[in-house]
Symmetry: C2
Subunit: 214 residues, 2 copies
């Protein structure tokens, strides 16, 4: 009985395609990338791509999920190394920022407009938000237990903080010179995010009464 040594290793092939797609997506965005081109890049026929990925959306979703995974791993690893809530949150803000910078690039051509890309990015964003608020809730609760932070409902605060970050990001990106952000713009954005975070965290440190839910 012989074992087949050289299986074509489907996983590898998939990753290969993924990488090519990732490159194109990062360079030109969803709409400006064709399946044909990706196939050509790796010397493969378009039909073969469809053997591995059922459609374009699915392929690009896979690309994006891949990036996400990286992000999640990085965050959790970094958080585990730290001890106090303050630093954890600030670290999350920083890492999150780099992820979004990458995504801004991905959707380079036409970000705001609601083309095909929208549902894709919406889904992506929702996933990130869910993950982010989970982590944040954990961190906030940790801060509460250690007596540093004070509030009623950690989940509520996490959602608020997450929206606040995303809101600031949107505002700042909108103000930008359009398509691609310069170093200066990036520096400014990260400064704004850090400042807001500092104030927010500080605001949770001492007695404070939020209005009750209505």
């Amino acid at each position: 009985m012989e074992t087949v040594v050289i299986t074509t290793e489907p996983e590898r092939k998939v990753d290969f395609i993924l990488k090519a797609a990732q490159k194109r997506l990062g360079l030109y965005g969803y709409e400006k990338t064709t399946m044909q081109e990706i196939a050509a890049d790796i010397g493969m026929s378009k039909a073969s791509l469809y053997y591995y990925y059922p459609d374009k959306d699915y392929l690009f979703k896979a690309v994006i999920e891949n990036e996400q995974k990286e992000f999640f791993i990085q965050i959790e690893k970094r958080i585990a190394e730290l001890t106090d809530a303050d630093t954890m949150i600030m670290e999350l803000v920083e890492i999150r920022h780099t992820l979004f910078r990458k995504f801004l690039n991905l959707s380079k051509f036409r970000l705001n407009e609601d083309h095909k890309v929208k549902p894709l990015f919406t889904e992506l964003y929702n996933r990130i938000r869910e993950f982010e608020t989970d982590i944040l809730t954990t961190i906030f609760n940790k801060g509460k237990e250690s007596g540093i932070l004070q509030f009623e409902d950690a989940k509520e605060i996490a959602l608020l903080f997450s929206d606040l970050l995303q809101g600031l990001r949107i505002i700042e990106v909108k103000r930008m010179s359009r398509l691609e952000m310069t170093e200066a713009e990036n520096d400014h954005l990260i400064k704004v995010l850090r400042d807001a975070t500092t104030i927010f965290i500080n605001g949770l440190k001492y007695n404070m009464l939020l209005q009750p839910k209505n």
Copy 2:
């Protein structure tokens, strides 16, 4: 010598047109309102409209500026009645909220998309932002002088806070069931704004070091 008693009182006429335009704009938005319709509403020919207002943009700008003026007056009046920074800021947040709710209505059809309306609303938003940050800077400085709030640069804090409010608003509106917000959604939005404000102000109350400008 006889005095002409019935002059047509041009100022009145202008206001008359303004009001009609305002109604249409509020009801259908910029693109879905034609000059023809406005003229018809007040039993006037379209050409006459052009006698008073050079073009459509100018007319609608006038409408919007009118609304703005109301807002500015209200804010300043209310601020003058109050004494401490906390309350002033919260009041500003509340009044600002009602203004934007009105505007949301104005741009009912297609808010995010960048059609003709965009430059109009951009200009409007910039004016409000300028006014708002001026007021905020004054208030923050007052808070600093009275020793309640602590920070380096009031203007910087004002800009940050203004962006933060606007960011939260955008995020929440985006999440909405689309076109027209329900009472529940409105309540939620105002709660989020209040909470964020409370935390933010509280975060400025005690020692805190922002990262230096880079």
